[in-house]
């Protein structure tokens, strides 16, 4: 019983990280039908920028609580800067190209981002632990967890909720749904599809950067961690249904439960189990748990 509690807490804990990592990817795919491989790079850049700013705060002896503001600021800078740049300068040129062109373009952006972090911040990990330990800790089933872990859960819920609200309840959300449904018709009735794309990609980038910045205090911010994480995000959104925000949440929960179970009960399966679930889901329901099957018109 105790073990089960621990597994549940570990899983919830990790699900928050995974959701923050994946939700932007699913937003971008949902609106633009592009699987943005560079997502992992933006996530990593958010982590670097947030950590770096937070470290500056500590260096000049400002109150450590400001580090949280700096994490947020770092994410905003990365998201608002990189999102529009990548979309306007690069992605815009390949809408309508074959999928492999789109994938490779974003893959190349990932490679470039990944190394540029190394060139900017050097090879040593950026290390900050204050935001992680500052909030204190609590005990469940005899196991100590820092509150920060559950702040992350809170951030995920709020952020995911805000995104769902934005799509469901705002005017912009309606425009987005129109564009998703039929690009050409949307254009014909005067929707600025280009603007919708820019905004959608920026939201995706922002989500990635936020995820990176807030997960950073509890992970290793090291060169090239983008290459490792982005593929997990693929699995999460493929399971949940590509393009679905709720799907990203469910996918994150499923993957993190599977992983937590594996680590506690069968560590050899840790890496395999994620992709095993992805295969099972895709085989049974190709569009993912929350995805919508696309019908082909003839």
């Amino acid at each position: 019983m105790n073990l089960l509690t621990i597994i549940v807490f570990d899983a919830i804990n990790y699900a928050a990280t995974l959701f923050l990592l994946s939700v932007g990817l699913t937003v971008v795919f949902g609106v633009m039908r592009i699987l943005n491989v560079s997502h992992g790079g933006i996530y990593a850049l958010g982590a670097y920028m947030g950590t770096w700013l937070a470290l500056l705060v500590l260096e000049v002896d400002l109150p450590p609580v400001l580090t949280y503001a700096m994490l947020l600021l770092g994410a905003l800078i990365v998201g608002f800067l990189l999102g529009p740049i990548i979309e306007r300068l690069l992605l815009r040129r390949i809408y309508g190209s074959d999928m492999h062109i789109q994938l490779l373009l974003t893959f190349s952006i990932l490679l470039i981002l990944d190394d540029s972090m190394k060139l900017i911040w050097g090879m040593e990990p950026l290390f900050i632990s204050e935001p992680y330990s500052m909030l204190g800790r609590f005990k469940v089933g005899g196991i100590i967890y820092p509150w920060y872990d559950f702040v992350l859960v809170g951030v995920s819920v709020v952020f995911g909720g805000a995104l769902v609200w934005m799509v469901r309840a705002t005017r912009f959300g309606k425009l987005v749904i129109a564009v998703i449904h039929d690009r050409e018709v949307s254009r014909a009735i005067g929707i600025n599809v280009n603007l919708v794309f820019t905004v959608a990609f920026t939201v995706g980038a922002l989500a990635a950067a936020l995820g990176g910045a807030f997960v950073a205090p509890k992970i290793a911010v090291v060169p090239q961690f983008a290459l490792e994480v982005v593929v997990l995000a693929f699995a999460v959104i493929a399971i949940g249904g590509m393009g679905s925000i709720e799907g990203a949440a469910i996918g994150a929960v499923i993957v993190s439960f599977a992983r937590a179970l594996a680590i506690h009960l069968a560590p050899e399966l840790e890496l395999m189990v994620v992709y095993l679930i992805m295969i099972l889901v895709l085989v049974i329901r190709p569009e993912g748990l929350f995805g919508e099957a696309e019908l082909r018109r003839i």
Partner: protein, 423 residues
């Protein structure tokens, strides 16, 4: 060719650093048949979680090569340093080694931090017949599974660390009943844990293993593993995590009280002290995998000069990769200089190899001896972390020094057999 005599440096400066340098440090001209320069590649991590090792290795190499070149290089021949990233996995390293030898035509290679990489390149280095000096890699299998001719390791293997950690743990708490391991899932982690477990069971036969965790190489997330360790409540946790992986582990484990609950032994712990700063808990048993640490200056001026010079150059105190980098370079230099002396001209690689075997040389932290099995032996130390106001990060205290013969398997004995026989 560069006019070297202009830069002549009094011999005593070199003397403290490399025994072989005594005779030739002041040599006016290069020996007969000497090349224009000695091209040596330095391979270490400049990317990924392990890059903290590369920072020390690269800085120390650059400092050392510049210094020696100013003093006349090796036997009057300047060193041409080629830097290579060790990232990308064993396969990339095998390719890179071929490029270094076939394309760059290097005369020797120094480096390899990861045990996975050193195991992979050793057979290829032998095939390519390139003199290779392994500086950090710790798996005992490097010298035991391979018949090495061209490959040397200038630092002790992991066995000494594993055994001395076990002894140290029992001296802190003679009543250890349960142990757990958290190690990376590759040669280094597997071999370190194996040796530690055997040593522990040998020294305290009733000890029980309650958890064995294997994580991915330089993983960035250990929350669930930490939960498992917390739930298992072992008296002692052994971990050979290193570099970025170890930093993350400390970062995630400390707020969760893992260090309060169990006595944690970190076989590479000394290396990250400067990275984690105040986040390093006190009372963690850590080893520097070399014979000395900058915080335990053994009085010799050479050692003090080394620490000062490396700090000035790297903006970082020499951690154990820095010491081991020095051991590798000075071993190579010593071997060349001894070979030059023996041959009376510029030596062939075979002659350098001959000179290298059974070479003993001084390093900032003591004498290193290269055995005929191409495995070097030297002493070591283990201590407990304690925050230091002076440095602004934790250093080791309650240090126990070990002599080379106490922590290295004797020549001809397999490491694990030796561990099985310790008392």
């Amino acid at each position: 060719m560069r006019q070297i005599s202009k830069f002549r440096i009094p011999a005593f400066v070199l003397g403290a650093f490399a025994a072989g340098a005594m005779a030739f440090g002041a040599a006016a001209a290069a020996p007969k048949g000497a090349p224009k320069s000695l091209k040596v590649a330095f391979v270490d991590f400049f990317s990924g979680g392990a890059a903290v090792f590369g920072v020390s290795g690269k800085g120390t190499s650059e400092w050392l090569v510049a210094k020696w070149n100013k003093e006349g290089g090796i036997g009057g021949v300047p060193i041409d340093l080629v830097l290579v990233d060790e990232g990308g996995g064993p396969k990339k390293q095998v390719s890179e080694l071929r490029r270094l030898v076939l394309d760059e035509k290097v005369d020797a290679v120094v480096g390899y931090t990861s045990s996975g990489n050193c195991l992979a390149i050793a057979p290829v280095a032998e095939e390519l017949k390139v003199l290779t000096v392994v500086h950090v890699c710790g798996t005992h299998r490097l010298t035991e599974d391979n018949k090495l001719k061209y490959v040397f390791r200038t630092a002790a293997n992991q066995a000494g660390d594993s055994v001395s950690l076990a002894r140290y743990a029992l001296s802190v708490n003679p009543d250890i009943k349960t142990i757990a391991g958290a190690n990376e899932d590759y040669a280094w982690g597997r071999d370190s844990w194996e040796a530690f477990k055997i040593a522990m069971q040998r020294l305290k036969p009733d000890v029980k293993v309650v958890a064995e965790l294997w994580t991915k190489f330089q993983a960035g997330e250990y929350s669930a593993e930490i939960s498992r360790l917390l739930a298992a409540r072992p008296d002692v946790i052994h971990s050979s995590f290193w570099g970025g992986g170890l930093i993350t582990f400390i970062k995630q484990a400390r707020p969760r009280g893992l260090f309060d609950q169990s006595l944690v032994l970190l076989s590479t712990g000394e290396q990250v002290l400067q990275n984690v700063g105040k986040s390093m808990p006190d009372g963690v048993v850590a080893a520097p995998r070399a014979t000395a640490g900058f915080f335990a200056l053994k009085g010799t001026k050479a050692h003090q000069d080394f620490v000062a010079a490396v700090y000035a150059h790297n903006k970082r105190y020499p951690d154990y990769p820095a010491y081991r980098t020095y051991q590798a370079w000075s071993g190579l230099k010593g071997a060349y200089e001894k070979a030059i002396e023996m041959a009376g001209r510029w030596p062939t690689t075979e002659e350098v190899i001959k000179a290298f075997e059974n070479l003993s040389w001084e390093t900032p932290s003591g004498t290193v001896t290269m055995r005929s099995d191409h495995q070097a032996v030297h002493g070591g130390l283990v201590g407990t972390t304690k925050f230091s106001k002076k440095y602004g990060f934790a250093i080791l205290e309650n240090i126990v020094h070990h002599k080379a013969e106490d922590i290295n398997p004797p020549l001809g004995t397999k490491t694990l057999d030796w561990v099985r026989g310790i008392k």
